[in-house]
Symmetry: C2
């Protein structure tokens, strides 16, 4: 069994690649829910949905999120009201949030809803939210007046402000009281492969590690854990991981990633573009495995998946 | 100023007629919210939306509710999940519920949200919910086992079961603790015309009267109040008012309507088809005014509106 710690688009693509090279039923993905947002009364789980839609081959490939062939009648009408349209919800995508919210009001757990949604899309990978409890990634940014700061929800920063504002700090509200979702710790402990997907280390993987017990469980598997760098040639392939790392005092490079993951991952897969930094990665105490890691298509994702499976050190 | 007590489709059509014969700004409609339902986490107000969409000339004329030219992508996708699709929500209509729910979570009152929605649709009539507090129309019907009863929400019966099951009793949960929405009692007291629209007396007008103070306020205007019968030739024009009246021990005729409204309305407008029952209506102590009351189109609605205005006894 393979256990993947997953954020959004990058994780979804690697998981799609893994499904092409091993049995979906042998894969468990623990997915970040710190990005979740309650908007219009609806419980929205962007990373879970991105992973689900991608594994169902239903994702909009261009955007990387949402459903292909989506329509936007609800959002267009919401504009008439001056409602919150900054977080785009397609008409078909809305159904996912309607279903999830209804089931949660009926006291289903997020784990149960996640499994039901995945089943409805024919997804064979076992998807677990990191927790059934609410954990909110909150971001502190510069306030409107000089010298002030303001804390906003992750999506207000990421989508609402186009992640164009420097981040002063990040915290995971509720994490200390959250419990890992059923099966998470067991899966980390028993998996043959433990993979940290190429997701933002701070706001995609960070929330998972903030749930009590998860970081320790991953660290206990440290020598076998394989992480995939989300930074290639000093830049994030998607999203603001590079700038955020710099804002928070880290180096936006595979070396910076290696430093962040050194206590958790014995191996880091880095792109060929960063082959010259392999020694610097290894100087951080992390084995460097060089492989093409830019998943431009399904074939590239499958190739990376093979490289990740091969990167695990032999026992 | 004209004050209308309003339910759904019949009330919406009469209000549309009134707007053609008097200034919209001189009309206030107090609308039933006992039919409201929280589904998928969304706060849905079917009667308010029917009135709003009808006054905006945006309603689906065939159905009588929802928006014309609607699409159903969200509902179609919700079927994939086995979600609650019995209550049909069009993609554009969903925006109304998203906006309302978001504003309510931001602590706006239902009155404020209702005004904002009406304004967005260019509706000149002042629309008031009967109350900003939650009142739920609950219906007791036969249970699954012989001799048992079960209580369900109004929409579960009306839409979910196609109102095909006999009603044993009706109650308005929360009504005793509800307050009339701001302006309701003042409007009833000060209106030149007080009109009870052709809506179901029990489950459309009944909830309004169950809000403390409303029935007394209407009764105080009794001699000037003009009701329009929702029953024509012994049948409801739309919906289950006729069967429900019989189920609950009333006569499904203009005479039965006159008996129900006698304490509240000095005048009842009845259709020409019921002209032969005018004397029987008057025997209940209610003036009968005969006028064509079937609103097959906008011209007929305007004609009925004129008849209603003329039906008010001269002071």
């Amino acid at each position: 069994m393979l256990l993947a710690l997953a954020g959004g688009v990058g994780a979804a693509r690697l998981l799609r690649g893994l499904v092409d090279v091993m049995a979906a039923a042998d894969i468990t993905a623990v997915v970040n829910t710190g990005d979740d947002i309650v908007l219009h009364g609806l419980h929205i789980c962007p990373d879970l949905d991105t992973v689900t839609y991608t594994l169902a081959d239903a994702v909009d490939g261009g955007r990387g999120w949402g459903l292909a062939g989506e329509t936007w009648a609800a959002m267009e009408t919401l504009e008439r009201y001056g409602g919150h349209t900054w977080f785009r919800l397609g008409d078909r995508d809305l159904a996912t949030h309607l279903f999830r919210t209804q089931r949660l009001t009926e006291h289903a757990t997020l784990s149960e809803v996640t499994a039901a949604v995945a089943r409805a899309w024919g997804v064979g990978v076992r998807l677990l939210p990191m927790s059934d409890d609410r954990v909110e990634t909150r971001v502190t940014i510069a306030g409107p007046a000089a010298g002030t700061s303001v804390e906003v929800g992750f999506q207000e920063w990421f989508v609402g402000r186009g992640h164009g504002v420097a981040v002063e700090s990040v915290r995971f509200l509720g994490a200390e009281d959250a419990r890992p979702a059923p099966g998470v710790l067991e899966a980390v402990a028993s998996a043959e492969h433990v993979v940290i997907c190429p997701s933002n280390p701070i706001v995609s993987i960070g929330p998972l590690l903030a749930v009590p017990g998860v970081e320790d469980a991953v660290a206990a598997r440290r020598d076998e854990v394989v992480a995939v760098s989300p930074i290639v040639a000093g830049a994030a392939l998607k999203g603001p991981a590079d700038r955020m790392m710099v804002d928070l005092g880290h180096e936006a490079s595979v070396v910076g990633v290696a430093r962040l993951y050194a206590p958790l991952a014995g191996t880091l897969v880095i792109d060929e573009a960063d082959a010259g930094l392999a020694d610097a990665v290894e100087a951080e105490g992390v084995r460097a495995v060089v492989a093409p890691s830019v998943m431009t298509g399904r074939a590239e994702a499958a190739a990376l998946a093979r490289a990740v499976l091969a990167a695990r050190p032999s026992p």
